[in-house]
Symmetry: C2
Subunit: 368 residues, 2 copies
């Protein structure tokens, strides 16, 4: 196997995978497993096999990071409002570069940013375990306040529940957020066209790696910090530079850049080709991922945007991205192709090609 | 002690309570307890002593059931959008009259209704415990879909997380919702005036009692069903009949009608006087509450609205309320007075008076 040519055997492998993936997934498991929360195949099966059919919502069926509804105003106008929600169950609560409270704000702000909306208001629902130290709670409340201020978003409402010792894990946080869709945004996960370019806003894999190191499970001593941050400046730079040439954005969290690209490839019925050599990864992260036996493309990020832009806009968009603080390593890592539809292929550094499918299990539980 | 006259001793008691309550509560506990989630005094201390000061938001500081923000639209207009959130940790997951999924939809729809907004879209975040039976999940997903359809609200976005066995309790659900503020609504918890009437939309205490009976902790065999339902028809009837004469609405959930009235009395700096004999309570609920040793006024409801209306509108509002399905027992249960500010007093059936303060502990844990 060499170069970009596809051998007969490889072609047959692709066909088998393609046929399998074209079917609507069915939820056959008798019990919920950790994999259902991992953002990979099992999560997809749960969402597409159970949730989407049950809720029968066009907005939900788009499987975007946020739902958009046209809301009638009192005066009879309509306004496009984006709503998003996310729960956070990360372990440990604090880690290099961030904490659960900061994640909870940025995660929701970033889902809105990916939908082309600047977050204006968020809600915070705290699910506390009896016996939690008040100081730990205070620290997270302050982290939420600080992150909200940094993202210029107001915490307008909240809720607090307490469950008995042994039925939680200190703090779980659910945040939801709203924002008005930016008039510059004409985004759709189904809008990708052959020739479009795939951009990534910075080095990848740092959040998930930082969490694994913080758990001490690797025995590796490296200074890797979570990349958690608001992605609105990134979305704003892309909207401003590419305008209607910006097809879609994805916040590459659980399941990493690989899952974000797979979702887009399926939604648009196109193929995405990634040049492995162009993927920006810190050496420390690459080393940790080797030890973990996981491709950094699958590792969760909390401050990495994946964007697809039309070819004419890609150079300008990349320049705009690199001008955003923290995004100096932004890169174009691939492009949209016609075949095989719904799939992501990686051109390896050694000239080979392989399928980069959704994750099957849950190698990194409770990462966000 | 007899009649409405206040004795010297009673006056002194009221003064002491008043002075104590006027202080901003301080969170002094070293650890989180079940009481912090019960909707009574400890919850108030957590919210006002930690969350409100940290988040520094005018919308949050109003302590309403939903936060309202003026959202700029693309065309330069502004629209009043209400956002609310709630987590549900009820035990057992299914009980007579409802289930956690149905509660999760109605709870959020009702918070919006109380803010004078018809819910248009909700988000659903599922926090699942590893090992949960898929059928139990499927049942709740269907309950969510059915309740959403009944409330005419769309599930537009969601999230799913899984935690390891022993770190959850089957299913926790967090829902958030948005709606545009109804143009008829001029509501404020601080807008109560002396002479205003206090209405309640139906019999109280059924939800909490149904849960306690479902746990089998009472040994009482009575057929009591949760009152969980959408309160938008109630809000709509009140807005239509009382218009600007409708001062405020509260969804009387955790902490019951007593907590809702206490919050309003504090927010407006007035007193609320309740005539115990006018409070509608089913005999089965009254009996169960006797056995539990708790006043039904403190028991959680999931389909009871408390409303305060100006005196001129109260008769018409009551007629409108009673015309709503399920609200035939709506009643006027008291009125707003000047003294003692910030407090709720009950005129008992025997001609006495007593303070109906916020709950101190958590007699009914995990009720919603």
């Amino acid at each position: 196997m060499s170069g970009a040519a596809v051998s007969n055997r490889e072609q047959r492998v692709l066909e088998i995978i393609e046929t399998t993936r074209a079917k609507r997934p069915k939820l056959k498991d008798e019990r919920v497993t950790m994999a259902h929360g991992a953002g990979g195949k099992a999560t997809q099966t749960l969402i597409e096999g159970l949730l989407v059919p049950a809720f029968d919502s066009d907005a939900l069926a788009e499987l975007a990071d946020a739902g958009t509804i046209e809301l009638a105003t009192g005066s009879g106008d309509a306004v496009g409002i984006c709503l998003t929600t996310d729960s956070f169950v990360v372990r440990p609560l604090r880690f290099p570069g961030g904490s659960i409270g900061e994640l909870a704000v940025n995660g929701t702000v970033n889902d809105l940013a990916a939908a082309g909306a600047k977050a204006v208001a968020i809600s915070v629902a705290l699910l506390l375990e009896e016996g939690l130290e008040t100081e730990a709670l205070r620290a997270e409340v302050e982290a939420i306040a600080t992150a909200a201020a940094a993202a210029e978003v107001e915490v307008v409402t909240g809720d607090t529940k307490v469950v008995e010792r042994g039925h939680g894990d200190g703090i779980y946080v659910s945040t939801s957020g709203i924002g008005a869709r930016d008039p510059r945004a004409e985004l759709s996960p189904a809008g990708l066209r052959v020739g479009d370019r795939v951009l990534v806003s910075r080095t990848i894999g740092e959040h998930g790696t930082a969490i694994m190191l913080a758990r001490g499970e690797l025995g590796l001593e490296a200074e890797i910090e979570s990349d958690t941050r608001s992605l609105w400046p990134v979305a704003d730079a892309l909207l401003e530079s590419a305008g209607a040439g910006l097809r879609c954005m994805r916040d590459a969290t659980r399941g990493g850049v690989a899952s974000a690209l797979n979702e887009l490839a399926r939604a648009s019925g196109i193929s995405i080709s990634v040049r492995e050599s162009e993927v920006p990864v810190l050496a420390e992260v690459a080393a940790a991922c080797e030890l973990l036996g996981i491709d950094p493309m699958y590792v969760a990020n909390e401050g990495v945007m994946v964007a697809v832009v039309e070819p004419e806009s890609s150079d300008e968009a990349l320049v705009a991205l690199r001008s955003v603080e923290g995004c100096e390593a932004a890169a174009e890592l691939g492009e949209v192709r016609a075949e095989p539809p719904g799939m992501v292929l990686v051109e390896t550094a050694f000239g080979g090609r392989r399928v980069m499918d959704l994750l099957a299990g849950d190698p990194l539980p409770r990462i966000c």
